[in-house]
């Protein structure tokens, strides 16, 4: 019996020796890179010309905001602001091209809005921070059925940036939809202005990825925002925005 035990122990120990080196995690933490850490001077020197170039482009003041505009579900000042700008820009494009025959709505995904617009002076940099992506505005022609599906989807995800329509969500389902103040015509067609990112399948808006027609209006969302704020500024107006109950949630 003892022989067996010795054999057993030997096997275990031999295996133990042959096995990989034994690892133990002894500490794990996050170190904050704050002002207490001095810059690596050679790296900072390398960054400097890039920074000067960027700062020149970014620090130009384009307008002012009366308060901070933040973005959150289901409806927020910033998501309303951005979807209204898309709506406005698309409307102008359709009018110029004498194609404004269908009802227009707009969609801006809240996850695509990356930060808040601060109170006070607004610079180009702020707009890049809100909208870093190079997404362009596209106008899709969609059937009423797919528009209905779109708002049903938005109800399950608890809201988005929308313009030209109002909805009521109860228990994550769409309980009321008005487009331009009217009931939806599921046998008709609609225009939807949104980003090429969503139109191409981003964020799983599958009901809009096969439109009857799609047209890029040749304007980035970021450009539309910058131009809108500059226009306000030229008219001595500030950005004033809040929620207006276009998305209601009933629990």
């Amino acid at each position: 019996m003892n022989k067996h035990i010795i054999l057993l122990f030997s096997i275990i120990l031999l295996c133990g020796c042959k096995q990989n080196n034994e690892a133990t995690l002894v500490s794990g933490k996050l170190i904050t890179t704050d002002h207490l850490i001095a810059n690596d001077t050679s790296m900072q020197r390398y960054i400097q010309p890039y920074k000067v170039d960027i700062d020149k482009k970014m620090d130009r003041i384009i307008g002012h905001s009366t308060r901070e505009l933040t973005s959150y579900f289901p409806e927020s000042p910033l998501s309303n602001f951005m979807s209204d700008i898309i709506q406005d820009r698309a409307k102008k494009y359709l009018e110029q091209n004498k194609a404004d025959s269908l009802q227009l709505i707009s969609l801006m995904n809240i996850k695509g809005i990356r930060t808040a617009l601060p109170k006070g002076a607004i610079t180009i940099r702020h707009i890049f921070e809100i909208m870093p992506f190079e997404n362009e505005i596209v106008i899709l022609t969609l059937s009423g059925k797919n528009i209905q599906k779109l708002f049903e989807h938005i109800s399950t995800t608890n809201g988005e940036g929308i313009s030209g329509a109002t909805i009521t969500i109860s228990n994550n389902t769409l309980s009321k939809l008005r487009i331009g103040g009217k009931e939806i015509d599921t046998s008709g067609n609609y225009y939807l202005a949104t980003s090429d990112y969503l139109a191409n399948g981003g964020d799983f808006f599958t009901m809009i990825t096969s439109p009857l027609h799609s047209e890029s209006i040749g304007c980035k969302i970021r450009e539309a925002i910058i131009e809108h704020i500059e226009e306000l500024n030229q008219n001595q107006q500030k950005v004033v925005y809040s929620t207006d109950g276009r998305i209601k949630v009933i629990k």
């Binding site: 010795i6 120990l13 133990t24 794990g28 170190i31 890179t33 850490i37 790296m43 990112y197």
Partner: protein
């Protein structure tokens, strides 16, 4: 009584053999400490956040991180510097220079490896290939099928890094791009199950390549999301991955999360938030005295 005598005999025999065995083990394996530094979702934040930033006033910045890493390298013999993806997108540096500055500075800082995040595709695959081909460090992606894609020759399915007597295998786990990246921005990339592919690569590295430790650089995201495989799922359902350095969900894990894997062994997950405001530091000791290391662990965690 008889039982007790047998037991005592067994113990003394066991101790004798154990001591012998242990001493021979020790002569083979010396104690090695590896310091793993990591970032994720830096999102082109070359400069620190502005002083009036609500969440991260005057925090972050590449030149500071470079100094910090340099300092740690002075203090520690074996240092690894790793990134878990989404290097790109988030500041005008990316809009204007397309990621070349991020890649250059990470090379200068001495990054050992990075994986690919979904935002790496924001300027399209062609532009990503252009940036990766300029990088001084390898991009590792294990679970993307890349047949017919230029990324296949520019990236690595895994990488082995030797530090002292320790061999560290590094794999890269990428997120499903569908729904996150415009389909025009990637062609010929198939997303394969990261649990299956990760385990396959990790067991290969341990068994065939004799690696001691496997680190997964992951851009899958941290916790549960319906229909998605995330870091916690990978940790629970594999046996050969030891440490997951995650990203995508922008979570600040002040200390790594410990998860029991399929073999009931502890696996750790780290994530450093985003924007480069934190540098993750994980110290691993190989072949150290168990009691001592466990005490040290309790003190730190």
């Amino acid at each position: 009584m008889g039982n007790r005598r047998d037991f005592l005999k067994t113990v003394s025999l066991g101790t004798a053999i154990g001591t012998l065995g242990l001493s021979s083990c020790i002569t083979n394996n010396r104690i090695t400490k590896i310091t793993i530094l990591h970032t994720n979702d830096v999102h082109s934040h070359i400069d620190p956040f502005p002083a009036n930033h609500r969440k991260f006033p005057n925090q972050g910045g590449f030149a500071r991180r470079a100094a910090l890493v340099k300092q740690i390298r002075k203090e520690e013999e074996h240092v690894l510097l790793l990134d878990a993806g989404d290097i790109f997108q988030g500041t005008p540096y990316f809009n204007f220079y397309k990621g070349e500055l991020e890649i250059k500075l990470m090379g200068d800082m001495g990054y050992d490896a990075a994986t690919i995040g979904n935002h790496e595709f924001d300027n399209g695959e062609h532009e990503l290939c252009k940036q990766i081909s300029k990088a001084d460090f390898p991009f590792i992606i294990t679970n993307y099928g890349l047949d017919g894609n230029k990324l296949k020759t520019l990236t690595h399915p895994y990488k082995i890094i030797q530090k002292g007597n320790i061999r560290i295998g590094i794999i890269g786990l990428g997120i499903k791009l569908e729904g996150l990246v415009s389909p025009n921005n990637y062609k010929n990339i198939t997303y394969n199950n990261p649990i299956i592919e990760g385990e396959k690569a990790a067991s290969f590295l341990k068994e065939k390549e004799n690696c001691d430790y496997i680190i997964a650089l992951s851009h899958l995201g941290y916790d549960l999301k319906e229909g998605m495989i995330r870091d916690i799922d990978v940790a629970k359902n594999t046996t050969n991955i030891d440490l997951i350095l995650g990203g995508h969900s922008h979570i600040f894990l002040d200390t790594p999360t410990a998860i029991k894997n399929k073999a009931d062994k502890r696996v750790y997950i780290g994530q450093t938030g985003w924007g480069g405001v934190k540098l993750g530091r994980i110290d691993i000791v190989f072949n150290g005295d168990k009691k001592e290391t466990e005490l040290a662990l309790q003190a730190h965690l």
